[in-house]
Each structure stands twice: as C-alpha cells, then as structure tokens.
C-alpha cells in the first residue's frame, strides 16, 4: 500500500505551509519614522466603522473637504473598544471616535481640530414616526432635550464605558436628576418601540426617552444595538421601530443623500431635516444642546511625532 500520491501531497502541504507562514500577514504596524516628503495622511491607516468610507462626515468627507487620502482603511466599530484597541496597538494611526466619549481624556488621545468645519450640528434630536408620537410624548421629549447638554452626555458615557454601568440605570439616574418620572403615569397610551444605534451612548439616550415615555403611560419596548443608521432609519420608515435618538446634521446628510445642506446651526438643520421627513410620515423634534460629532483622534505619540493639531495638518508633507 505505497500511496506515493498521498506522500507527495503531504510534502507539498508542508512545503506550502512553510511558504505561507513566511509570507506573513501584511498591513498594520507603524509607518517608518523620518520625513519622506509625502502627505502625512498617506502614511497613516484610518480606522472606523465599516460604513466610514462612504459617509460624508467620515472618510469620504475627509477626502472631499480636506483632500486627504489615507494609506488604508481598517473596518472596526463605531468609536468603540475595537477602534481604541487598534489605536493603542498601532494597527491604525488615526481613528474615528465620538466627541462625547468619556474615555478620550482618560486614555490621552488627541482629537484633531476640525478646522475646515467638516462636522456640523450633530445635536441629539429624537426622530420618530408622527403617528406614534402624540403631542404629550412630543412635549415630554422636547422638555428632556431642553435640559440635556454635552457635559451631561460625556459624564453618562464615562459611566457606561469605563465604569461599565448599565445604560438603563444611567438613564433612570439622569431622569431622576432632572425631575422626570419614569412611572406612575398610568398605562395604555399606546405602544412605542425605541431603537438605539450600536454604541452605548445611543443605548443611554434611547433608555432616557423610553423610560420617560413609560412614565407618562406609554407601553415601551426597546431594540437596542440595532445597528448603524443604514439599518435603523429604514426600520423607522418601515414602522418596525417608532423612535430613535438621532444626530441632526448626520441625519440630514443621510436623508438628502449627502447634498451638503447641514450647517452648524442646529435649529436650521432640523428644519431642513423635517422638510424631508414629513413626506415619510416622520418627524424630528427639538434638538438638544448636547452634541456628539465624529472626532478623529490620534495617540499622543502620533500627535507629537508629526506635530498634529488640526485635521488639515494631515495634508502637509511629513
């Protein structure tokens, strides 16, 4: 039983395996030090959520507005632990985080200044189906929005991300603090499904809105970590969900297919947004003062190495 065929294959396999392991995996790793006369951005790998390359406030915007072309893009998550881990390890040199992220300061990241104003008024705004949000619901949500500000949001994010507190608990603590009740308003006012994007801040906001609505008698259910806007917004249009906490400028640019209408003025941005939403039976309520924009962050070492302060610094040669 001399199966030479089999032995030949076996040796081939061993040979191939040596070859395969020798051709190690490419990618990752810090670029070489010293100036090479090329734009800094072209020496950096950008990390962010998988939809980043197509988003006007993400890689696409960096390309169009700042003229930046990165060496490569690594799909990770939405400003979450995978992106931060990749930054720390040097798998990426610049990553998308969220401006209200509590751990930016804690981890010593440097957020590059948006000196050309790519980001606009990304104020938190409830987006929902007009049929599901009766006037008392709308009044309540607007009332919450009038009280919510960015430092509140950052503090709540820190509790979730660093202290690992539960978003539901953080939300009910916040509602208690601003004097909105979460129970005792009766029941049977109607069903509302509140959804959140796939990052913890969204879960917190969804819980804040949802628990407040329960407090005035709505029957609230949740679909948290549903996905990104590409998933959540169609679900709202279809009626699978009734409400989600959106971000004004990004919602607008998503709905108008990146026409570039968003401005730093939240009220004007929301007005334009409602212009598009009305036709779909949807409505955006009053924006809050709390903002959360895309923030492009680098490690302190990277910032020092190339003297980075503004995003436009990335276009310089280094």
């Amino acid at each position: 039983m001399r199966d030479w065929g089999f032995r030949a294959i076996l040796s081939g396999v061993l040979g191939l395996s040596l070859l395969a392991s020798a051709c190690g995996s490419s990618g990752g790793g810090s670029p070489s030090a010293g100036s090479s006369g090329k734009p800094i951005a072209s020496q950096m790998i950008l990390g962010g959520p998988p939809e980043c390359p197509t988003r006007p406030f993400c890689e696409k915007g960096l390309m169009d507005k700042y003229g930046l072309t990165f060496k490569d893009f690594k799909p990770l998550d939405a400003g979450g632990p995978l992106t931060k881990a990749a930054l720390d390890r040097g798998d990426i040199q610049i990553g998308l985080l969220f401006s209200s992220d509590g751990s930016i300061a804690a981890k010593g990241y440097v957020v590059l200044n948006d000196d050309k104003h790519l980001q606009n008024a990304d104020n938190v705004v409830p987006v929902g189906r007009s049929a599901a949000l009766k006037s008392d619901a709308q009044t309540l949500l607007n009332q919450i929005d009038s009280k919510l500000n960015t430092s509140d949001l950052a503090g709540m994010n820190k509790s979730a991300d660093i202290d690992k507190q539960d978003p539901a608990q953080i939300a009910s603590d916040y509602l208690k603090k601003i004097g909105v009740s979460t129970s005792g308003g009766g029941s049977g006012k109607g069903k509302i499904t509140v959804a959140g994007f796939n990052f913890s801040e969204s879960s917190i906001l969804a819980q804040i809105y949802g628990q407040a609505l329960k407090g005035i008698g709505y029957d609230v259910s949740y679909k948290l970590n549903l996905g990104n806007r590409e998933v959540v917004e169609p679900a709202l249009e279809k009626g699978d969900i009734d409400l989600y906490p959106g971000y004004a400028a990004t919602e607008l640019e998503f709905i108008n297919k990146a026409k570039g209408e968003a401005t730093p003025d939240p009220a004007a941005t929301v007005k334009l947004l409602n212009g598009y939403l009305q036709a779909k039976g949807l409505i955006a309520l009053d924006p809050s003062a709390a903002q959360d924009q895309n923030a492009f962050a680098v490690t302190k070492e990277t910032a020092n190495k190339w003297h980075l302060v503004n995003l436009s610094d990335l276009a310089k040669n280094g």
Binding site: G80, D161, D166, S200, N225
Partner: protein
C-alpha cells in the same frame, strides 16, 4: 500579549443579579429559535428522507449535494438570504432549518438503511403491508440513528443561533455581542457559558430519550 483589565472582572455578580430578566429572555429566545429549527427541520426532513430512501436513484445525488451544501458557513447562508428576507427572524429560521434538514435527511436515510434486510423480509413474509412495516419495523429500528441525528442537529443549531445575533436575533448570542460591543466581559461570559450549558443539557436530554426509545439496545 495577554490583556488583563483589572477594572473588568470576568463575572460581575451584581450585573447578573440586575439582569436576570434580560438573561432569561435571551435564553427563551434561544430555545425558541432552536425548537422551531429542529422541529421544522424534522417535519420537512422526514418525508424527504423517506422519499430518498425509497428511490435508490435519488440517494447518491441528494446526499452528495446535501453534504456539499452543509459546508456553506452559516454567516454566508444568512447573507444569501438577507437581500430577500431582510434582517429578520425569517432569515434566521430559514438558515437554521436548512442545516437541520441536511443533517436529519442524512441520518434518516442511513438509519433506515441500517435495518437488517432479513427482518424486513420476514415482516413482508408475515403479511405486513409496506405502510405497517414502515411504521412498526423500519422506523423503530432506525430510531437510534435518527435520534442521534436530532441530537446532532440540536447541538449544532444551538451554536448557530448565536450567529443570528448579527441579524438582530441571537438569543444568548446577543449577550456575547453586547460583550464585544461594550468591551464588557460579564455578558460575554454569561452568553457563552449559557450557550454551552444549554447545548450539553439538550444533548444529555436527547441521549436519555434515545435510550428510552430503544430499550432493547445496549447503551453506548
């Protein structure tokens, strides 16, 4: 290489205590998804299996194709369905049922094949009509292999249900996904351990059922 995060222990019992309802719902959803897949799969695989067993010509082609289809990774199968059925329970169940059908058809055919020819001939000789012989001789004797198939299908499905978390379903897989998204070990550990315990429990339960159903066989 090992990252040990002192601020996030492997299990935070206080989190467990506060989330018993979340964990329970995840468990219930997991069992529901598995049950529908296995029972639905059995319902479809039984007539198909019987057909393939009766018509020899179908045997090799059907089982070969089934064997090859079985190698399609679950995420890919779900992905083939998403453009048509969306990120829904329907997509999850179609995918899960497909895998159970592949396993069960194979085991039904192999099990029925394993019934000794002499016994079947003796039954025919005693005047058993085909339908009666099928019900009282063939299927009972094929039962060990069939139940083994149900065991395998159940344990496999319990594992695959966790992948449906990427479709918005997931059962205990939702806890695993939450652990990844929030960089939080407790739900990850709970989801993983729960899934393993569920699979082992189901396997033991079905092994017991297998022994009960065939008392004349020596247990393995």
């Amino acid at each position: 290489m090992l990252r040990l995060d002192a601020t996030d222990p492997w299990i935070r019992w206080d989190w467990l205590g506060h989330h018993t309802d979340v964990i329970w719902q995840a468990l219930v959803q997991h069992i529901q998804l598995t049950g529908i897949a296995v029972l639905g799969g059995l319902a479809i695989a039984t007539p198909v299996g019987l057909l393939v067993w009766r018509w020899r010509a179908l045997r090799n082609p059907v089982l070969s194709v089934a064997g090859i289809l079985y190698t399609i990774p679950s995420l890919a199968l779900f992905a083939l369905l998403v453009p048509f059925t969306g990120l829904t329970v329907v997509t999850a169940e179609i995918g899960l049922v497909s895998y159970t059908i592949l396993i069960l058809v194979r085991n039904i055919v192999v099990g029925l094949d394993g019934v000794p020819a002499e016994i079947r001939e003796a039954a025919t000789g005693m005047g058993y009509r085909p339908a009666k012989r099928l019900l009282t001789i063939d299927i009972p004797l094929a039962l060990p292999v069939i139940v083994a198939g149900v065991r395998l299908a159940t344990v496999t499905t319990i594992g695959l249900v966790t992948v449906t978390a990427l479709l918005g379903e997931g059962g205990l897989g939702q806890l695993i996904l939450a652990g990844l998204i929030q960089d939080f070990k407790t739900p990850l550990v709970v989801g993983l351990a729960g899934s393993v315990v569920l699979a082992v429990a189901a396997d033991l339960l079905l092994a017991g059922a297998q022994r009960l159903a065939t008392p004349w066989r020596s247990s393995r």
